[in-house]
């Protein structure tokens, strides 16, 4: 009996797990991956190597080698997460502040190194890399005795010795030297007394530790034996922060001017630029500098020895605005006597986190590294083709003016005929090549397809750069850069909102970004057309208050814009656009303070042309000693449809789902004396403020991922007691009868739900959870689980179902539930991104497509992965491998066969008649 049940369960399991696998020929058919490295920190262009290359380190803790010609990644190593993976120094052998470098040793020998990185502070890891393959060669680490002080530690390299400088502010410097490739200390730590050092005013340039003190610089040569501090007078007190110049020992940039504190190193002090770099050209050391003036990036260079300009390198490159402000990171020239400057490659990093390579007077390639930090994405429908647009117009006439349509059937018929005539004419004109020129978006292939699978993916990144990406080809159709914006103070990110979808032809869709001004902390709104990337409705709007909460209103009647409701720091309510203000009447809002774990509910009233908010409820989740902090908030997707109201049980009765659209899950965590750490889950109705359900987990801690949809909730956490990641699922049911099937009201004291819960072991670390969503909600819901190895597993809800029976009962089996097995299977067939792993997977976003069966998916992290999933298989589409030829052959054979048989039969009849 039990074996049978087990078998049934297993077979069901197999059935479920194989239901959503890819076929091998579907690779790259509707998915693509963008591989990023992050914003450039240090780089080294090497054109004279036997294999020209660019080696770089980034702010995201990535070391990579990039192809010089195309900008493609040759190899990439993603280091540890911060703070351990924070790269402090990248040193390529043969490239030092001193030209007499002895570190270049043959590859493979243990003594020298090809490239080394120093990362982290406690412990600091020093790694040597093979630059051709990206494999590690050696590694050593050092642990500072004082971890806090080591945070400010600096590293520099000079003559195959690596120096670690740990400042103790206002007191002294501790300098320790190591042999770079072995980690052996060259002697004891030396202390250099320096009472003037402060975190804001000091920097390291080559071997010199330089501090600004009013109108003079105090510098120390950390390598020299004397350790004597000496002072250099400045013309004026520097206004901005000092910057070291890489490649020249003891040279720094102050307000765009070069200053040398090294007596042996002369600089051309007459120059003024925003960024400099040092390199060689025609066997002479040169100094290149670059500036942007009126949309042109000008690159100039001077010879270091006599400060005469290098005419060959002077060039101007048209510079698109969306890259932000560039700064020259490094460059290299091909070694050729009397080279004409075409062989030089300049590598720029920009404020919009792009990497640009300029060569021969043009931008050779660019990498959009802002995409390594995606914070929000939205799928926007593409506009209709022109011909379909006219049809849509006609249909709209019908919808708006229904009565007149019915009355006047003849005119409707006439209009239909005329539009069709117009369509035929335009088709004809198009064929003979005389039609009207297609619009820009149509030329780019941005036309809605019949299944709504082709969409514009709008991506908002942390640096303030916005991309419009084709979700099928991965092409960047437009880019926008918003300088001077940032996320909000409480680690809350910028928001991307669709105010008007593309459904309302001929009105253009409208997207809005809500951010915070980097300068004064007030709110900023930026409105733009998500199809073209152009600003609309005036574009940037500076608000004169700080934004606390945001909510979307319903569509207005005349222009179909969803208004944005903003709650400011003084609890005043504002609506954009203004004419949608009246729609905010009777709206409920809530805020959650992450630090104090306090939830507050507001009611918005519209009276006499004025909006006002009333504080109506308060919930404190902080616990008795206010230690609890909110680590997760999960509401439901506002566009979600719940198709099935209940669940059929084994005895044919219906268990109705508790579908409360106002239910939000909050998770708090606090340290605990006996249980190490406690995790609390609260389900709160945010209209009434009533707590529907709470649950406590002991000896459990973050990382937490949470997903909330329909009547269920799933969240993953780390169980410290048994040291494994677990997923708890909760389902809420109203019971066998529904209180009110048509309207939900949180205020009329709805019945408390029945709660089903279950926990499962998941044999991986969960990074992100997201439910699939489809147009009408008919398709099964699957949960997409992003794992730490960078794969996304599509998990059917049947497997996470809290109603999976522990004992194999007949009731459970009739209900279609699989018997409970504690460990969730992660079959490789359900990895929707097969071997295209996403490094540092952070979030997964889903959106419905025009097809009910299909859900569009974007996974973001260091890499970007876009695909689509069909949780119940593509039931509304013919299979891709549908055999048209076979079916036509069969049809033809059958018809011809029947004709022949008819003929034969008539002949037989005739013969019989003659008998």
């Amino acid at each position: 009996m039990q074996a049978k049940g087990m078998l049934a369960g297993l077979s069901a399991l197999l059935l479920l797990s194989t239901c959503s696998a890819l076929y091998e020929d579907q690779i790259k058919k509707f998915d693509w991956r963008g591989v990023n490295v992050g914003a450039l920190r240090q780089s080294r262009v090497d054109l004279n190597h036997f294999q020209p290359r660019i080696l770089l380190s980034t702010n995201e803790g990535v070391v990579a080698s990039v192809c010089v010609k195309t900008g493609e990644i040759v190899w990439r190593q993603v280091l540890e997460q911060k703070p351990r993976g924070d790269i402090k120094l990248l040193q390529v052998s043969g490239f030092s502040d001193d030209s007499s470098d002895t570190a270049a040793a043959p590859i493979g020998s243990n003594m020298g190194f090809d490239m080394l990185t120093v990362q982290g502070h406690a412990p600091a890891l020093v790694r040597g890399w093979n630059t051709n393959m990206g494999a590690l060669e050696w590694e050593w680490s050092t642990m500072p005795l004082n971890t806090e002080r080591a945070l400010d530690g600096l590293w520099f390299y000079s003559r195959s010795v690596l120096y670690h400088v740990v400042p103790t502010w206002k007191s002294h410097l501790e300098v320790t030297a190591y042999f770079a490739s072995s980690g052996h200390s060259t002697g004891s730590t030396s202390k250099v007394m320096a009472s003037w050092i402060t975190p804001e005013n000091c920097l390291l340039s080559g071997t010199y530790y330089i501090c600004v003190d009013g109108k003079q610089l105090i510098s120390l040569d950390l390598v020299s034996k004397s350790g004597q501090a000496f002072r250099t007078a400045l013309e004026a007190e520097p206004k901005s922060k000092l910057q070291p110049l890489a490649g020249l020992n003891g040279v720094l940039i102050a307000d765009g001017k070069l200053i040398s504190v090294n007596k042996d190193q002369a600089v051309c002090s007459g120059l003024q630029s925003s960024s400099y770099a040092v390199g060689t050209f025609n066997y002479r050391k040169i100094l290149a500098y670059a500036d942007v003036a009126s949309g042109i990036l000008k690159i100039n260079a001077v010879y270091l020895d006599n400060c005469s300009p290098v005419a060959e390198l002077e060039q101007g490159v048209p510079f698109p605005e969306h890259f932000g402000t560039p700064s020259l990171n490094s460059f290299d020239c091909k070694l050729k006597r009397n080279g004409e400057g075409k062989g030089c490659l300049f590598l720029f990093s920009t404020s919009a986190e792009s990497i640009l390579a300029v060569q021969g007077g043009r931008i050779r390639w660019s990498r959009e590294e802002a995409l390594a930090n995606v914070i929000d994405t939205q799928f926007v429908d593409l506009p209709l083709a022109d011909t379909e647009g006219t049809l849509e117009n006609e249909m709209k006439g019908k919808a708006v003016d229904f009565t007149s349509f019915e009355r006047d059937i003849v005119s409707a018929f006439l209009r239909r005929i005329t539009t069709q005539a117009v369509q035929i004419r335009s088709l004809f004109l198009h064929v003979i090549g005389l039609g009207p020129p297609p619009t820009a978006t149509q030329r780019a292939g941005l036309v809605r397809d019949s299944f709504g699978l082709h969409k514009m993916l709008v991506v908002l990144t942390r640096s303030g750069k916005i991309f419009g990406i084709d979700n099928i080809s991965g092409k960047h159709h437009w880019q926008l850069y918003l300088p001077n914006v940032k996320g909000f103070d409480n680690a809350e990110q910028m928001r991307l909102i669709i105010q008007r979808s593309a459904k309302h032809f001929p009105l253009q869709p409208l997207c809005t970004i809500l951010a915070q001004d980097a300068a004064n902390g007030n709110g900023v709104l930026y409105r733009f057309n998500p199809i073209t990337g152009q600003a609309s409705e005036g574009g940037l709007l500076q608000l004169d208050y700080k934004v606390k909460q945001l909510s979307l209103l319903g569509e207005t009647e005349n222009d179909f814009v969803k208004g944005i409701l903003l709650l400011d720091a003084s609890n005043k309510v504002h609506v954009y656009p203004q004419h949608a203000t009246s729609l905010a009447d009777g709206l409920y809002l809530y805020t959650a303070d992450v630090k104090t774990s306090e939830l507050t509910g507001y009611f918005v009233k519209y009276a006499g042309g004025q909006l006002s908010s009333t504080h109506i409820w308060n919930v404190r989740l902080g616990g008795h000693n206010s230690e609890q902090q909110i680590i997760g908030v999960a509401g439901k997707n506002p566009i979600e449809h719940v198709h099935s109201q209940g669940r059929v049980l084994g005895d044919r009765s219906v268990l109705y789902k508790y579908i409360n659209p106002n239910l939000v899950a909050f998770v708090t965590q606090a340290p605990d004396a006996t249980h190490k750490s406690i995790l609390n889950l609260y389900l709160v109705d945010v209209v009434s403020g009533s707590v529907i359900f709470t649950m406590t987990h002991r000896k459990v801690r973050a990382p937490l991922s949470i997903v909330h949809s329909e009547n269920w909730l799933a969240y993953s956490y780390f169980n410290e007691k048994v040291r494994r990641t677990e997923i708890t699922t909760i389902e809420l049911y109203e019971g066998k009868s529904q209180a009110n099937s048509s309207v939900w009201s949180s205020l009329q004291a709805p019945p408390m739900p029945l709660v089903e819960r279950q926990s499962y072991i998941i044999p991986t670390i969960v990074e992100a959870l997201r439910e699939t969503i489809t147009e009408r909600g008919i398709t099964n819901k699957h949960v997409l689980i992003g794992t730490s190895s960078g794969s996304i597993v599509e998990m059917p809800w049947h497997l996470l179902d809290p109603r999976r029976p522990i004992a194999s009962t007949t009731q459970g089996r009739e209900e279609g539930a699989i018997p409970y097995i504690p460990e969730l299977p992660l079959p490789t067939e359900s990895h929707i991104n097969y071997n295209q792993t996403i490094a540092r997977l952070r979030n997964i976003y889903t959106a419905p497509s025009g097809l009910e069966s299909t859900c569009l998916v974007v996974a973001t992290g260091l890499d970007l992965f876009v695909t689509r999933v069909a949780p119940s298989k593509t039931f509304d589409l013919l299979k891709e491998d549908f055999d048209y030829i076979l079916i036509s052959i069969v049809l033809v054979a059958l018809t011809s066969g029947s004709l022949i048989v008819k003929h034969l039969a008539s002949r037989k009849l005739l013969k019989q008649a003659w008998k």
Binding site: T18, L22, Y23, E24, D25, W75, Q77, V78, E80, Q81, R84, P123, L125, R127, N130, M133, G134, A135, L136, E139, W140, S141, T142, M143, P144, L145, N146, H164, V166, E174, T176, G183, H184, S185, S188, T189, R723, R724, I761, P763, I765, S788, S789, E823, T828, E829, H831, Y834, N835, T837, R840, D881, D883, L886, S898, V901, K902, A905, S906, L909
Partner: protein, 241 residues
């Protein structure tokens, strides 16, 4: 006096601001940080080497494809050309070490470092954490199997068609019907069977050719012939119910 000197020297060593890890065991104990060592076997031992396979192109640099990580990249190790890796600066505790390659599965290992610096490695068992199966340390990570991400597409083959249960169910009885009577040599039993099995077959079954002709010429078949067939079908249905 000598002892004092030694203590003093030790103090001096401690006083220097940093400790380099990985040089000798003593220092490890001072800093409380340890180094996990091991070796990863290359994945090409189990991936079939065929021309044009996407895996093969990158087989030469599998070292960059493999990641060795603990706690979702909190600690990471990188693989050297010979497959050796080390994860340095790990405090004592219990960790799951994951070796991840996009195309090949490596079994994770739980590594436990006690506060005294003793290493123990064992198999990961999430369901029964108390069950211990030790594996050798330093770790040897071997590829277990290639990931199978894809379903194979169904292809229409004549053998599939012939060996499908439906066809077999139809063909086998037919064979029995045709072949068995001929195999019986005894004439009496033959007669019996003939009488038993198909008593009125010829009369009841409408002839297929006639049915076809009537259907195609549009002529209604004679009602006498048609009647028994639906009646038989109905009784059959009733029986099924």
């Amino acid at each position: 006096m000598w002892l004092k000197c030694i203590v003093f020297a030790a103090l001096l060593a401690l006083g220097s601001s940093e400790v380099v890890i990985g040089q000798d065991e003593l220092v490890d104990e001072v800093s409380g940080l340890y180094t996990i060592e091991g070796r990863v076997s290359p994945p090409d031992s189990i991936i079939p080497r065929g021309p044009g396979s996407p895996v093969n192109k990158e087989a030469s640099k599998w070292q960059t494809e493999v990641t060795v990580s603990i706690n979702d990249g909190e600690f990471k190790g990188f693989v050297r050309e010979d497959g050796q890796f080390l994860i340095s600066g790990v405090p004592s505790g219990s960790y799951i070490l994951d070796v991840h390659h996009p195309d090949v599965f490596y079994e994770p290992v739980r590594v436990e470092i006690n506060p005294k610096g003793k290493f123990r490695a064992r198999k990961v068992n999430f369901v029964q954490p108390a069950q211990i199966m030790q594996v050798p340390y330093p770790l040897r990570m071997k590829p277990l199997m290639p990931f199978k991400y894809f379903q194979t597409r169904e292809q229409w083959k004549i053998t599939d068609f012939l060996f499908s249960p439906m066809v077999l169910m139809m063909v086998l009885p037919l064979l029995l019907m045709l072949v068995l009577p001929k195999m019986i040599n005894d004439p009496e039993t033959k007669k019996e069977i003939d009488n038993l099995q198909f008593p009125k077959m010829g009369n009841d079954m409408p002839e297929i050719s006639e049915m076809l002709t009537s259907l195609l010429t549009g002529k209604q078949p004679e009602p006498k012939e048609k009647k028994p067939a639906p009646a038989a079908r109905q009784t059959k249905k009733r029986k099924e119910q």
